[in-house]
């Protein structure tokens, strides 16, 4: 069942929120030892929330569309009463005393928070291999990565442990895991969804967004979690774009679609490019007008990103110093505060986090700032101009979501550069702060693993993403005869749950 179908069944009282929640908790109990999507399963509080929704429905109180529908929450969102580790040892045991704005909104909408999902430490990575608590598995092939950093969320949705999940996208951390797990994931416009209570990796890039198994499901969650938040100064004070309506309309006739020249070529898996090309033809056959568009500065996006994001992270992660919360190492009465800070950070952070802190501290340091951080910001401006020029010609841009399908666990773990390339297609939208979605568009011939189609739209035109993605989804599903996820073979013996 999709989240939309679940919501409808709940509203018709064919099923209770408690039953739905129990079914998902049962599913988690059955498969999560293999998938390892969750760091913390909040069974008790989930059932309490479900009972509260059931009581409200019984009393005829007005309920939001997602009331009673379970959601898995990436462990980067502050959740009052539940642990929040960001996949790091340094926050082991921390229970935030407050809820993120999005956590609050989900609770107010009656969505059931099933638990906290695994992630690369502080959202730095593309595979969950950087989590301090083990790697999540791709339900299509348990030896493959589920993507990252929001890999726990994508794996949970793909493994039917949750109908919906939320994640954050800083360089592709929603779209890349969605693509490699064969589900839908959206990076909303920066400022369209609140960052308050989202533990910061790179403040000018971090964007919370939804995962679903269908485009409509993602749209429903997108609408529920988004909107202006006075607690986040960078939040946009404007109505949420009509994403649910757009997903329902699924009409691309007359739309101008641009294929980005620079997001193809060397390093792109042939099977990925084949599925992408078919999708573009399909959209054209549905009435869209397809042209090729050049964004010449996209080739500099990856290096610019790997200066800006580490610079911001080197500052954002300075607060983890053992003084107020989280891990404290070496406080045995013989060491001063500075030594305790250093020891805690040495032991509490993993290798990738340290790499980026050092990279960022270097890029910001006096004498190097102009050449690194300053230059990267200039590149960022050029990328924004590329997008502006492109959106002067077309309504949306498209590309593959990732250059390759899911890779084997361990395959790139010792090669940061290879790992960074997983975000090649997704990073430009993050740097520009506009909106993008990944929607499944088939399986690569080489490995039978899912391929994602990325659609990019101007800031606050998130509805266009859903219009295009829903049209592609409908046409492709029609061609396949059933949802793509039905092909997932990673959890043998589980049967066809779609």
């Amino acid at each position: 069942m999709t989240a939309a179908e679940l919501a409808a069944a709940l509203e018709r009282k064919e099923v209770s929120a408690t039953e739905v929640t129990r079914a998902h908790l049962d599913r988690i109990a059955a498969v999560d030892d293999r998938v390892h999507a969750f760091l913390h399963v909040a069974a008790d509080s989930a059932l309490e929330q479900a009972a509260a929704v059931d009581a409200k429905r019984h009393n005829g109180e007005p309920l939001s569309p997602l009331a009673g529908v379970p959601v898995a929450v990436k462990d980067v969102f502050a959740t009052k009463g539940l642990p929040t580790t960001c996949g790091s040892r340094i926050l082991e045991g921390w229970h935030p005393p407050y809820d993120a704005t999005i956590t609050t909104r989900l609770k107010q909408a009656g969505a059931i928070i099933l638990g906290k999902t695994n992630m690369d430490e502080f959202a730095m990575g593309s595979s969950t291999e950087n989590s301090a608590y083990g790697t999540s598995r791709n339900p299509w092939d348990l030896d493959k990565i589920p993507g990252g950093s929001s890999g726990g969320s994508s794996a949970a949705v793909a493994a039917y442990e949750a109908p919906l999940a939320i994640g954050t996208d800083t360089g592709g951390s929603i779209r890349q895991p969605a693509a490699v797990c064969g589900i839908v994931g959206t990076k909303p416009t920066y400022g369209g969804s609140s960052r308050y209570g989202v533990v910061a990796f790179a403040s000018s890039l971090d964007t919370p967004g939804p995962f679903g198994r269908t485009v409509l499901d993602a749209a429903l969650l997108h609408e529920a979690m988004s909107g202006h938040d006075p607690c986040d100064s960078t939040s946009i004070d404007a109505p949420v774009p009509p994403v649910v309506a757009a997903a329902r309309e699924a009409d691309v006739s007359g739309m101008r679609i641009g294929v980005v020249t620079e997001l193809s070529g060397e390093g792109y898996q042939p099977g990925v490019m084949a599925r992408f090309a078919e999708s573009v033809e399909l959209l054209e056959s549905l009435g869209a007008k397809v042209t090729e568009v050049s964004c010449p500065h996209f080739r500099y996006a990856l290096p610019a990103y790997y200066l800006i994001a580490p610079s911001e992270c080197s500052s954002n992660l300075a607060r983890f110093d053992a003084m107020r919360y989280g891990l404290r190492v070496g406080d045995d009465g013989t060491r001063d505060a500075e030594e305790v800070m250093a020891l805690t950070r040495e032991q509490g952070f993993g290798a990738e986090v340290k790499r980026r802190i050092i990279l960022g501290a270097y890029a910001l340091s006096s004498g190097y700032y102009d050449a690194y951080y300053g230059k990267a910001q200039q590149v960022r401006t050029l990328i924004i101009r590329d997008f502006d020029a492109a959106f002067g010609q077309v309504d949306v841009l498209v590309s593959p979501s990732t250059p390759t399908t899911a890779f084997r666990i361990g395959e790139r773990a010792d090669d940061p550069m290879a790992m960074y390339l997983a975000d090649l297609c997704t990073i430009p939208s993050d740097l520009a702060g506009n909106a993008a979605i990944s929607v499944p568009c088939g399986l690569a011939d080489e490995d039978g693993l899912p391929v994602g189609l990325q659609v990019m739209a101007p800031a606050m035109a998130d509805d266009r993403l859903y219009r295009v993605a829903a049209a592609a989804e409908a046409a492709l599903t029609g061609r396949w005869g059933r949802p793509l996820l039905a092909e997932a073979k990673g959890l043998p013996g589980e049967g066809d749950r779609a």
Partner: protein, 498 residues
């Protein structure tokens, strides 16, 4: 600690020319903190005025306090500065246990106010102190180092941190180098801070209490031989927390640096700590090992762009500058600058002005506030303005004296009664029957009694020695328990005996 070699001040002045500069931090008196809604009351229970934002909890985000921006603009305009039409906050990165985020949100190369001045009167000479910049930042928490001899972190057994102060808006006012003051440099430094303090007080932006740390000074001093083409190397003396200390810190640095230069040495560019008890400075960290703060624009905040119309509105509402006001009142009240200084130093200017406005003569208002009332304030350890008597009440007492209803002694009794909360002067006069006995028949009886009892004195007076009448006046005053008008009594006695 080795004793510093010093050159006597006047001797140092024979050979060297000082250049000084001041950085003043002012805690703004906004109701809430810089980036959150916590209150700012001084002296509250430690860590009782904190929230996720000012504690820098993971995920929390700052939102700018509009009142703090307005106060800073007010200060900038009063200091004749340019107000930026667009500027950003920046992060200043360094680790310290009382810094919740291990970075301070401050301003770096884009301060809100730049390029102003403040005129300071030094011994009748006006010195125009250039203002380099006025910028806004957040205060840090406060560490209490327990154990150890120095009260500093090194050598302490343990430290406690109070985060109530963390996030209180702090304005930093930086002067341009102040040259040409010669031997007056220490006095000029003190008078600049005094003038600045009075200005800030008149703007109602801060309570500017140096003893509570709401106004703190760093003092830069350098020396160069007379006629040198270049300035000397400066030191920055921190922890200078009273007006007197500002003067002493500059004087000490002049004496110390002169000794270094006399010996052919080189002044080290360094931070020095001022010690209130000995009026000396000691070496802190030198600039060579200074931190690289890795400033970069604060990505969690949007730029500040105060509309020109708002700035003009603030400018139009600025109160009269203290110097202009003093000059005006000196003329209006016919006071010498010494008299005016006495009023200002007693913190009585507002009170005297209000008392004059309530009808008292300037001389009377000054007499009561600087005399009897200052004594009360001193005896009870309160500030003049905090006494339980209003300017209107003081004016009324002065009027009763002028009308002859009260004499000075009775007026003092009325003041005591007002301070004791017995009501308004007229009520007290009525209730206590304190009015001067003005009924001549009642007085004449007492006079006749005094004449009869002092035949020798009467004889002297009749001989023309009218000064002897004092004895009779004293007797009458005693008989009427001070309620008589002594001048009238004297008049009546002389009439009687003529």
């Amino acid at each position: 600690m080795t004793m510093e070699t010093l050159v006597p001040y006047l001797e140092a002045m024979e050979r060297y020319e000082p250049v000084i500069g001041l950085e003043t931090h002012v805690e703004l008196g906004t109701r809430t903190k810089m980036f959150c809604a916590c209150t700012t009351t001084f002296g509250a229970e430690p860590n009782s005025q904190v929230c996720p934002v000012c504690l820098g909890l993971p995920g929390s985000l700052p939102v700018v306090n509009r009142a703090a921006i307005e106060y800073t603009i007010r200060i900038g305009l009063a200091l004749n500065c340019q107000i930026a039409s667009w500027c950003r906050f920046a992060r200043k990165n360094y680790f310290y246990p009382d810094m919740p985020k291990n970075f301070q949100i401050s301003q770096y190369d884009e301060p809100l106010c730049t390029d102003g001045y403040l005129d300071v009167d030094v011994d009748g000479r006006t010195i125009r102190v250039g203002i380099e910049r006025v910028h806004l930042e957040e205060d840090t928490g406060k560490s209490l180092h327990v154990g150890g001899a120095t009260g500093r972190i090194h050598g302490a057994e343990y430290s406690l941190v109070d985060y109530n102060r963390a996030g209180i808006p702090l304005v930093e006012i930086v002067t341009k180098p102040i040259t040409g003051t010669g031997a007056d440099a220490p006095v000029a430094a003190r008078l600049y801070v005094t003038e600045l303090r009075d200005l800030l007080r008149s703007l109602h932006v801060s309570d500017v209490r140096m003893e509570e740390g709401s106004l703190r000074c760093d003092v830069n001093t350098s020396l160069a031989p007379h006629g040198a083409s270049q300035w000397g190397t400066r030191t920055e003396t921190k922890n200078v927390n009273s007006l007197r200390s500002v003067e002493r810190a500059v004087a000490f640095e002049i004496e110390r640096q002169a000794a270094v230069l006399d010996a052919g040495g080189r002044v080290i560019q360094e931070t020095r700590h001022f010690h209130e008890d000995t009026s000396t400075t000691t070496s802190g960290r030198s600039k060579e090992e200074a931190q690289d703060y890795r400033y970069f624009p604060e990505p969690d905040l949007v730029p500040v762009a105060p509309p020109a119309a708002w700035v003009e509105q603030i400018r139009a509402a600025l109160p009269e500058a203290p110097a202009a006001r003093r000059a005006r009142l000196m003329v209006d009240w016919n006071l010498s600058s010494l008299d005016m200084d006495a009023i200002v130093n007693a913190g009585a200017l507002d009170l005297v002005e209000a008392t004059v406005a309530a009808g008292a003569s300037p001389a009377d208002a000054r007499k009561w506030w600087l005399g009897e009332l200052s004594r009360h304030a001193h005896d009870t350890g309160t500030e003049l303005a905090a006494l339980a008597i209003t300017p209107a009440q003081v004016a009324r007492i002065a009027a009763l004296v002028a009308a002859g209803t009260l004499n000075d002694r009775l007026a003092r009794d009325v003041i005591d009664a007002v301070l004791a909360g017995e009501g308004d002067p007229d009520e007290i006069v009525e209730a206590r029957g304190l009015a001067v006995v003005s009924d001549d028949t009642a007085l004449l009886a007492a006079i006749d009694e005094a004449i009869a009892a002092n035949p020798a004195v009467v004889a002297k007076i009749r001989d023309g020695k009218t000064a002897a009448a004092g004895v009779l006046v004293g007797a009458v005053m005693k008989a009427t328990r001070g309620k008589a008008d002594a001048a009238r009594v004297r008049e009546l006695i002389l009439e009687r005996l003529s």
